[in-house]
């Protein structure tokens, strides 16, 4: 069998985006030895794509803001199927997490009084997003990266892919991985493991996500016996680029609308009036995405099948200072000067609200020793995520998961000697190597493209039962084909993307299957999950989450009722908050 190097640590973290790095900092501060493993180079994770800002009720711009309002906005945006305990923790702790970043060197845009500036964003009652122009994610990841590498106790393994979690006596005790550069194998041993591996947007064709977002964390957790939750809930961001074809799907930040951008159809009509008269362009993402979709279907779309997003009424200098990378992106990639011309935009797959089921306070999954934080986890966002809540999510719950994992590792001092199942290791290695020995096997890039076609056709922005069912059958067929695929040519171990993709397919297929099965079960429309055959929201399902787990090697979905919110939280949701009228003008 293949040989591998054994590397031992206390806390193993999968992923070096915001959640993984924040968890690493927290675990190291708690005294644990930490090893972070990431698929790309350090600092390249998907967090850099977060543009608009980080949501935190610091009330620097609107004094009326408070954690209660942020909590209520998050719950209402998530159509009330959120884990309310997570939403409460998130709303209360995110201001501290933002201020802490500043003390670690992050530089946010300022108000005239010198406080951190906060911009308005979709479905946030008050201006709440701390930001740096439209590159907040980069600021956040760079700050955390520098904190982690200078802190001591944190080691980073770049360009390493984990393909199997290993358990000993029922708890996670390690993982198997390969180095992308040369295909050499590593067996990691650990006292606790934190998944911070992000989402699965790559299972769709038009997405803002990179090659990395193949849902590895959810698939690894599922395979290790952990429960997944809300897998039917994936977010279409309303505004992705549509033209030229090569850039289709690339994100156009919600910050454009936050800074006053308006949406129009080809007839010049500000169509959001018909979908959400109160909030208009700053309605929640599910509503805006469906509105654009409906306009296009009704024949009122732009030449390339989208809507116009127009910010030309703002001064050119304002646009260039508030939205510098959008200005640059459109000028360079689409030859459009957004200070003079409208942008063409359409929905693009952006974010997975569903994922690993976690404990609200610790990020613990249902498998001992296994934790999850950030996009790979579920609960905070319910049926729809508000813009800005993902950066605060990964700070708040990254820290909590890191601390909990460090404590678990300390309580598990004999982890390095845990008895792992040699047979399981051999089997997993044989499995990962198999495509290299199938020179005539199918090209994994072709299978990947077919998965994307199936999900695009069968789990679109508005779904229906027969379509989902047909999609599920196709995904099950693709699972069989993926098991038999090759590397698309060469059998080399040296940096071979064909081989790497053959591994990613397995993760994508678990995510796709879980999405389709959960979507079939949720017979209503709620948030990001819209069904033409069940167009109404069913109040009976407000307390229900769909849970996915593996039982006897088969995927099962079950409905589970959540306990009701305590009164003080229910009151916070029901309260009617005064509307914000800007006092500041630029």
């Amino acid at each position: 069998m293949g040989t591998y190097e054994t590397i031992e640590t206390e806390v193993l973290i999968l992923g070096a985006g915001g959640a993984g790095l924040r968890a690493a900092v927290a675990a190291a501060e708690a005294g644990a030895r930490v090893l972070v493993v990431c698929k790309s180079l350090l600092g390249k994770a998907h967090t850099v794509m977060a543009e608009g800002g980080v949501a935190a009720a610091m009330h620097n711009v609107a004094y009326q803001d408070s954690w209660e309002v942020h909590f209520a906005d998050t719950m209402k945006g998530g159509k009330l199927i959120n884990d309310w305990q997570m939403a409460e923790i998130h709303a209360k702790e995110s201001p501290d997490r933002v201020l802490e970043l500043e003390r670690w060197g992050a530089v946010f845009d300022r108000t005239w009084q010198g406080r951190i500036h906060q911009r308005p964003f979709g479905a946030h009652t008050y201006p709440r997003l701390a930001h740096v122009g439209d590159r907040t994610g980069l600021e956040l990841i760079r700050t955390l990266q520098d904190r982690a590498v200078h802190q001591g106790g944190v080691e980073v393994h770049m360009e390493v892919t984990v393909f199997k979690l290993l358990k000993a006596e029922g708890r996670v005790a390690g993982a198997l991985a390969y180095r992308r550069a040369d295909g050499s194998l590593i067996l990691y041993r650990c006292g606790a493991l934190v998944l911070a591996s992000g989402g699965a947007g790559k299972m769709y064709r038009v997405t803002s996500n990179s090659w990395e977002s193949t849902g590895d964390g959810t698939a690894l957790a599922y395979d290790a016996g952990a429960q997944l939750r809300d897998m039917e809930m994936v977010q279409f961001h309303p505004t992705g680029m549509v033209w030229p074809a090569g850039v289709r799907g690339i994100l156009v930040t919600e910050g454009v609308r936050g800074e006053g951008g308006v949406l129009r159809n080809k007839e010049g009509e500000r169509f959001m009036e018909r979908y959400d008269r109160d909030r208009m362009e700053l309605s929640s993402r599910d509503v805006v995405a469906r509105a654009i979709n409906s306009e296009v279907l009704a024949g009122r779309g732009t030449p390339h099948g989208g809507a116009f997003l127009d910010i030309t009424h703002r001064k050119p200098d304002f646009i260039k200072s508030k939205l510098p990378s959008m200005y640059e992106q459109f000028l360079k990639l689409a030859n459009v000067d957004i200070t003079k011309q409208p942008m063409e935009v359409a929905p693009t797959i952006h974010y997975a609200m569903g994922g690993v089921r976690v404990d609200a306070e610790t990020g613990a999954s249902t498998v001992p020793g296994l934790y999850a934080a950030g996009e790979v986890a579920s609960g905070l966002h319910g049926a729809n995520r508000l813009g800005g809540n993902s950066l605060s999510d990964l700070l708040v719950f990254g820290k909590r998961a890191g601390e909990a994992a460090a404590a678990a590792a300390k309580n598990n001092p004999n982890a390095a000697g845990a008895r792992l199942d040699e047979g399981e290791i051999d089997h997993a290695i044989a499995d990962v190597m198999a495509p290299l020995d199938r020179p005539s096997g199918e090209n994994p890039f072709k299978v990947q493209a077919e998965i994307q076609d199936v999900m695009t056709a069968h789990a679109p922005i508005v779904r229906d039962g027969p379509g989902l069912q047909a999609g599920l059958e196709k995904i099950l067929e693709l699972e069989e084909r993926a098991d038999q695929c090759g590397t698309g040519g060469s059998g080399t171990l040296a940096f071979n993307p064909g081989w790497h993709t053959s591994q990613d397919l397995r993760s994508m297929l678990v995510n796709a299957e879980a999405l389709l099965r959960s979507a079939i079960e949720r017979k209503e429309s709620r948030g990001a999950h819209a069904r033409s055959d069940f167009p109404r929201t069913d109040d009976q399902l407000t307390e229900v989450n769909y849970i996915v787990e593996k039982s006897l090697q088969v995927m099962h979905v079950k409905a589970e009722r959540r306990p009701a919110m305590p009164d003080y939280l229910a009151q916070a949701v029901q309260h009617s908050y005064t509307r914000y009228t800007p006092e500041e003008t630029e």
């Binding site: 790309s40 180079l41 600092g43 390249k44 994770a45 998907h46 850099v48 794509m49 610091m58 201020l99 500043e102 003390r103 670690w104 060197g105 530089v107 946010f108 845009d109 300022r110 005239w112 010198g114 406080r115 951190i116 740096v132 994610g137 980069l138 600021e139 760079r142 520098d146 590498v149 200078h150 550069a181 990179s210 090659w211 990395e212 033209w243 030229p244 074809a245 090569g246 850039v247 690339i250 994100l251 990378s325 640059e328 992106q329 360079k332 990639l333 689409a334 090209n443 890039f445 493209a449 590397t487 698309g488 040519g489 060469s490 040296a494 940096f495 071979n496 993307p497 064909g498 081989w499």
Partner: protein, 254 residues
Amino acid sequence: MEISNLDLKIWRGDANGGELVSYRVPVREGMVVLDAVLWVQANMAADLAVRWNCKAAKCGSCSAEIDGFPRLMCKTPIADYGGELSVGPMKAFAVIKDLVTDVSWNYQVNKEIPPFTPSEKDLTSSEPWRMHQKDVERVMEFRKCIECFLCQDVCHVLRAHDLKGVFQGPRFMVRIASLEMHPKDVLDRRPLLKGKAGIGYCNVTKCCTEVCPEHIHITDNAIIPLKERMDDEYFDPVRSLLRRLGGSARKPSA
């Protein structure tokens, strides 16, 4: 100009050598070089090694040399070229395979630069900090850096003379500037600049500024002001005398 096919020459090989290999790629409207390279990977050469992530010029992964010029592949429209172009790996770093190079040295350098260090008073204050927009804008320019390392690639000190042991390169001059000019940072990194960082090796040819996809004025706004600070500290006769008499007010870096 409309072209239907692109003759894309990609450098294929590893540490032992390699060559340009020609691929015929069907062109789509608005295609960038990265699209063409990924098309080759998906359809003609699944083992073609290339780094990329965001495809939106925000992560700095897909750095390469296009017709010999350091650029991000995701930001380079093929319409800017005729019907043919070549793509090769960054030359200042050792090749791993095809377009992928070993950039780990950069991560080592970053570890050697003392991190953001606020004063004890600021650190222990329970009040949120106040800073003004005009005071932070200067460092914001430097913090736009996406670590594509194209500036490192083009810098002749690193590229032609391979002086990686004595000069940390433009990327890290920008990094040091972002710390030194941070309104709340109190550490003095001039000993580092004079020593390990080797700022004296830069002779301000501005090649780094020219290739920066974030349009950071690396030479004018980072390197030259840092050089001026060095001059104040080490070559100003009045300061030199004061230093000998009483020592510097700022805490020197290790």
